[in-house]
């Protein structure tokens, strides 16, 4: 977005707010600041804004039921509410939950917390492409399974999961189906009703709305035990005075995405497909992490033999190119990405990953800048790596 700052290829970590979104948000901070709970006319505009935002988000999800969109502070909160809210409400029916081993921490960690409350969690393992096999989900479901939670698409490696089949299996066994759609939102066409989704978490920033806002779609007829107790806002399921400017922003972002998403996906998909092809065919020792298809448009996750990922990120940063890595050194725990380990990469290879994620303001010019820097960065690091066999270096780079 900001050309002076160089090339930003880390949209999965955070995106700028679309100026069209910011424009509609501002008046709700300074002029129309009414609280929708009030009775006087200042509240009317807030109520109307809330309703419009719900309609826009429902529309993006392919739902008619705008009264089933709950606003939260983040996808993390949405995931917490979806999982804890259903589990605690349904615990008399059963105490078993099924999930995958590549979920985001905001699904993984609440499930760990629920385990401490006595719930049992079965993690279905993905294959080497990062895909969940619905057959594995089927065998994991038990009579006391109450919720199945599988992300729509993985944020790191872009693997799009076979949700329709999994949702169908959940319903056959009378369990609810929740999906964390944070990474997928705006990057694939959505129809919650057709896909059979009962609960769906999303984040505003993913579609160029402000941070600090998320939403949870809750299918009609499903009640949740609140996580935040208070004044009973959001249909009694999520208390706290509504963040109207943020919600208005999310609504506008959803509206824009519903209008422009298809074209945007085509552009991003063409760029990432092309980039993957170029990287794999021109850079020595390059391989793709995750599936070629079905993969989120705009997601590229690659690794290069004999080099470490954080060094790649730093090397690219010196060319003004912002990227990220699943390497241990990029994390707070010094463990490589659990997603890369889940697809079967050994630790020493998982350290070498480079994640590039594109968005609304990514251009072909950015690709060219990246492709002029990346081969140099990789070559420099491979040439100083004790892991690279001398014959291999000679074959790849000559003398």
């Amino acid at each position: 977005m900001d050309k002076e700052k160089g090339v930003y290829l880390d949209y999965q970590a955070g995106a700028g707010v679309d100026p069209r979104v910011l424009d509609v948000m501002l008046p709700y901070m300074t002029e129309s600041f009414g609280n929708p709970t009030s009775m006087h006319h200042w509240s009317w505009e807030a109520k109307k804004a809330l309703e419009n935002a719900r309609r826009a988000v429902a529309d993006l999800l392919g739902s008619q039921d705008w009264e089933r969109i709950l606003f939260t502070s983040s996808a993390t909160e949405s995931n917490n509410l979806a999982l804890k809210g259903t589990a605690r409400r349904l615990k008399k029916k059963g105490m078993h939950i099924v999930t995958s081993n590549i979920e985001h921490w905001s699904v993984h960690t609440p499930l760990k917390a629920l385990q401490k409350e006595g719930f049992e969690v079965t993690q279905v393992e993905v294959d080497e492409q990062g895909l969940v096999d619905p057959g594995d989900v089927e065998s994991a479901i038990r009579d006391d399974t109450i919720v199945i939670s599988i992300m729509m698409a993985n944020n790191e490696i872009g693997a799009i999961q076979p949700l329709e089949k999994i949702a169908h299996l959940a319903h056959e066994r009378n369990a609810l189906f929740h999906t964390d759609a944070t990474a997928a939102l705006g990057r694939m066409g959505l129809d919650v009703e057709k896909m059979g989704i009962d609960l769906l978490s999303l984040s505003s920033n993913q579609i160029y709305g402000p941070r600090g806002v998320g939403a949870l779609y809750v299918k009609k007829g499903i009640r949740l035990e609140p996580v935040l107790h208070g004044g009973g806002q959001e249909f009694g399921m999520r208390s706290g005075t509504e963040n109207i400017p943020g919600i208005v922003g999310l609504g506008k972002a959803a509206w824009i995405m519903a209008m422009e998403g298809e074209e945007e996906r085509r552009m991003l998909g063409a760029m990432s497909d092309n980039l993957i092809e170029r990287i794999l065919s021109t850079i020595p020792g390059a391989s793709l992490n995750g599936p070629k298809d079905p993969r989120l448009p705009g997601n590229v996750n690659v690794r290069f033999s004999y080099v470490e990922g954080e060094a790649l990120v730093l090397g690219l940063d010196s060319y003004g190119i912002a990227t990220s890595s699943g390497s241990a050194c990029s994390s707070k725990t010094l463990e490589p990405s659990h997603v890369l380990l889940a697809i079967g990469l050994p630790h020493e290879i998982a350290h070498g990953s480079l994640q590039l994620s594109f968005g609304r303001w990514t251009t072909q010019g950015h690709m060219e800048k990246l492709m002029s820097a990346l081969p140099k960065v990789v070559e420099r690091l491979q040439k100083m790596s004790p892991l690279a066999p001398p014959e291999w270096l000679k074959e790849m780079y000559g003398g």
């Binding site: 470490e308 630790h347 100083m384």
Partner: protein, 149 residues
């Protein structure tokens, strides 16, 4: 307030590492770290009259690991073996204006790799005793088992 987790000095050594490469036929060789943990370092030294006359390194690892390897070679070149063995992990970290605490592990490896190369030389020359090292101590330095792993 530091916003970049790495100091300018670390970035300089990462971008323009000194003494990268291999010495064919080195007098001493050290290899420490473990690629499973994300870093592996090799140090090659040439020794003349108990002085390190040439030193080269190769590193697989993060920015901090590469920068500290480079820094250690600069500290070590031209020094005598006693001094080389005295270069401490802390000294390297200080020289680099202190890498962030979570990176101390990688910066520690560089001094370890240098010590491994020097001790390898001493073993080959059969001079451990002269440097006050027992064979067991020497073995630990040449093949360190990092407790963090």
């Amino acid at each position: 307030m530091k916003y970049n987790i790495y100091s300018e000095k670390v970035m300089d050594h990462f971008q323009n590492p000194r003494n990268v490469g291999v010495i064919e036929d080195p007098d001493g060789f050290g290899r420490v770290g473990n690629p499973v943990c994300g870093d592996l370092m090799e140090m090659f030294i040439k020794v003349e009259d108990d002085k390190i006359t040439d030193i080269k390194f190769r590193t697989f690892g993060c920015g901090s690991a590469i920068a500290t390897s480079s820094m250690v070679t600069e500290l070590a070149i031209g020094t005598d073996l006693h001094r080389g063995l005295e270069i401490t992990r802390g000294e390297v970290a200080n020289e680099l204006d202190g890498p962030p605490p979570i990176k101390m592990h990688c910066s520690n490896l560089a001094a370890d790799a240098l010590h491994a190369a020097i001790v390898d030389y001493l073993i080959k020359q059969d001079r451990l005793e002269e440097f006050g090292l027992s064979p067991e101590e020497a073995k630990k330095i040449v093949h360190p088992e990092d407790p963090e792993h």
